[in-house]
């Protein structure tokens, strides 16, 4: 009698129920959890991060630290209310070795509350909330993207250098916008600039006309804003349509134009923003990455994809050092802390609070493209307010 296919499948299913420690550390698959949005407003970001992570893993032969990688993806729907259940599903249910994600800061905050109580190594791949590497920082939590501070603080200097000492701030009134403005104000006040007025717009309202009329009557030297996605697309168009663009220069963190340049069209022309990446950055790693990403997915890479790519590359470095043994927590964390990357965004290393130390670039929209004017702040390091670790 030959072995039936059903019996074989049954036997295979049974082995997967065996406790994991029966396998040698080097042989078991490395389970990486992805807590990312695959539906809703941020779906495109989630897909870009995921695909860039997979691309990096493929470039390492599908193995990190000698262990084959297995992805466990959960759609977080950018819903902070569902975050605790989703995080628990990945940690307790799927027993991932490493947890990565999310895009949305609200989801990140909910995730931080849980992972701080857990052992699992966590890498934040986008959310820029200050607290992740600030008040809530933890030895086993790293971030490969940016902090809100890094995207906005360097822009203050750009205005001051241009002799623009009176600015109006306008932003979506939620944590990202507030943190972005606080960072800008810190830099602006230091250099002797004054804020004429702060205009907080309730999120996600996109009715700006009344406030634009107000800005026109205030006649500041410049305007610094935080909007993203659909709000950024509309704000930039409204700003130009109201005839303000020619008279009062508009600035923002890079999210003002990132991903929506095509929609903004001529209205975005000339706008200067600061960010830790630009599509057109002239370095070998960036060119290689953009070509590989395009070939693998058919899409153009962006700042979100870069964070995903770097996440796996920095993990690969550290896991190689500990020979794939995720149980060796102390050594693994030390290896990450000393890791250096030649990232598409430029040189990359972790600060004591585990946020990237990276160059922030000054970019300007020229001919529908993001041109790099130079480095706005070299080796920008988040002040990590409230983080007790490593001090």
């Amino acid at each position: 009698m030959t072995l039936s296919r059903r019996a074989l499948l049954g036997a295979a299913a049974c082995t997967s129920l065996l406790p994991r420690r029966l396998f040698a550390a080097g042989a078991a698959k490395l389970r990486i959890g992805l807590l990312l949005p695959y539906s809703g407003t941020y779906a495109a970001l989630g897909h870009n991060i995921t695909d860039a992570m997979k691309l990096a893993a493929t470039e390492h032969g599908g193995k990190l630290g000698g262990r084959e990688v297995e992805w466990v993806a959960v759609d977080d729907e950018s819903d902070p209310a569902k975050a605790p259940a989703n995080v628990n599903k990945l940690i307790a249910g799927e027993k991932v070795d490493i947890l990565t994600g999310p895009v949305h800061s609200g989801v990140a905050m909910a995730m931080m509350q849980i992972v701080r109580q857990e052992e699992v190594l966590t890498v934040v791949t986008n959310a820029g909330a200050q607290a992740v590497t600030g008040t809530l920082c933890a030895p086993h939590v790293f971030r490969t993207s940016f902090s809100n501070w890094q995207t906005s603080y360097p822009c203050a200097d750009v205005l001051l250098k241009a002799g623009q000492k009176k600015a109006v701030l306008m932003f979506w009134n939620y944590s990202f916008g507030q943190e972005s403005m606080a960072a800008f104000k810190e830099g602006y006040a230091k250099g002797g600039g004054t804020i004429v007025k702060e205009i907080a717009v309730p999120f996600p309202s996109t009715e700006f006309q009344a406030n634009l009329s107000e800005i026109a009557s205030l006649k500041p030297d410049a305007v610094f804003v935080f909007f993203a996605g659909a709000g950024a697309a509309k704000f930039v168009k409204d700003y130009a349509a109201a005839g303000l663009k020619e008279n009062i220069p508009l600035y923002g963190s890079g999210f003002l134009t990132e991903g929506v340049l095509g929609v903004q069209g001529a209205a975005a022309e000339g706008i200067k923003t600061t960010l830790h990446y630009a599509d057109g950055l002239d370095n070998a790693a960036n060119k290689k990455f953009r070509a590989a990403f395009k070939k693998a997915t058919g899409r153009d890479a962006d700042v979100y994809a870069v964070a995903g790519y770097d996440t796996v590359n920095v993990l690969a470095q550290a896991l190689d050092k500990v020979k794939g043994d995720t149980g060796a927590r102390k050594e693994l964390i030390a290896a990450l802390e000393s890791a250096r990357l030649d990232s598409p965004r430029g040189p990359f290393r972790f600060s004591k609070a585990h946020n990237p130390i990276q160059d922030v670039y000054l970019r300007q929209v020229k001919g529908g493209q993001e041109a790099v004017l130079g480095v706005a702040l070299k080796d920008a390091e988040d002040p990590a307010a409230g983080c007790k670790m490593g001090k």
Partner: protein, 291 residues
């Protein structure tokens, strides 16, 4: 606030209000006459905006998009009325909410499948992409154009409802549908016409607003909520009420943002509450009645 800034904000508020009126008028018409609580009304607004983007991106002309889009919206309205809404006239509001909310989900999914989830910009027609001067301020000409268009539509609607035989039937159908039917008027046809007119109004508002708001998923929902506020302030079923309600909401929102920024998002609802305390049935709502 200087006088010139005050005047500009006044214009901003009126312009916003007029656009809201266009959406809310269809909602109040359908609710007042057909007695149907139509949650899908915001979806028609979104659909109009997406149509405007889709056609204008391919043809390069927004005016052509509107010329094609309005008949398309009338057809969509007829289809939805025949297939779904017609079965609800005798049912209670809860069933109507269930069905029309289902339609919202359906239209959102359709939008996602047909047009994707990206944000899209719509260009204003070349001839109207200049700015006009208002004192020391400038104002986009397209905004002025949409305001004028809204005023024209409001006046036309008033003429039709008060001055034509069709309008007479509409008013009669609103107050006593059984009697109208007994007099030999096809109420079924009347309702279908009215519903598709409401759909077209919402769609047209979406098309006019598309260059101002950009086109994005979920744009219908926020408009729907404001439209309900307008309808409630104006008095359910009253087009004239919706007109004044919309202006009030537009002005409250605009001045709320400038004068009380911390309170801006609640301003509209505060105005609604105040109006309802003063006139529980809205500005021009009918006195206590069955429907």
């Amino acid at each position: 606030m200087s006088l010139s800034l005050f005047l500009v904000q006044l214009v901003n508020g009126v312009e916003y209000g007029l656009l809201l009126f266009l959406v809310a008028s269809g909602l109040t018409l359908v609710f007042g006459v057909l007695g149907v609580l139509n949650f899908a009304h915001g979806s028609f607004y979104m659909l109009g905006a997406y149509l405007a983007w889709w056609v204008s991106a391919r043809s390069g002309s927004l005016l052509l998009a509107i010329a094609v889009g309005v008949p398309a919206m009338v057809l969509i309205g007829l289809l939805v009325e025949r297939l779904a809404i017609a079965r609800l006239y005798s049912r209670d509001h809860l069933s109507q909410v269930l069905l029309t909310y289902g339609l919202v989900l359906l239209f959102n999914e359709l939008q996602s499948v047909l047009f994707g989830n990206d944000v899209h910009g719509v260009n204003t027609p070349e001839a109207l992409s200049f700015t006009v001067r208002l004192g020391e301020q400038t104002w986009p000409a397209w905004r002025a154009f949409t305001s004028l268009a809204c005023i024209c539509i409001a006046v036309t609607m008033r003429q039709i409802v008060l001055g034509t035989r069709f309008g007479m039937r509409v008013r009669a159908g609103a107050s006593n549908p059984e009697m109208v039917e007994a007099l030999g008027i096809d109420v079924r046809r009347l309702f279908a016409t009215l519903f598709s007119a409401g759909t077209a109004l919402a769609g047209l508002a979406g098309m006019l607003a598309a260059p101002l708001t950009t086109v994005y998923p979920g744009m219908g929902e926020s408009v729907l909520i404001l439209s309900f506020v307008v309808v409630v302030i104006g008095g359910i079923g009253s087009i004239k009420g919706a007109f004044f309600g919309a202006l009030l909401v537009g002005l409250a929102d605009t001045f709320g943002k400038v004068l009380l920024p911390g309170f801006a998002s609640a301003m509209v609802y505060a105005v609604m509450a105040a109006v309802l305390l003063w006139r529980p049935r809205g500005l021009l709502g009918a006195a206590a009645e069955g429907r």
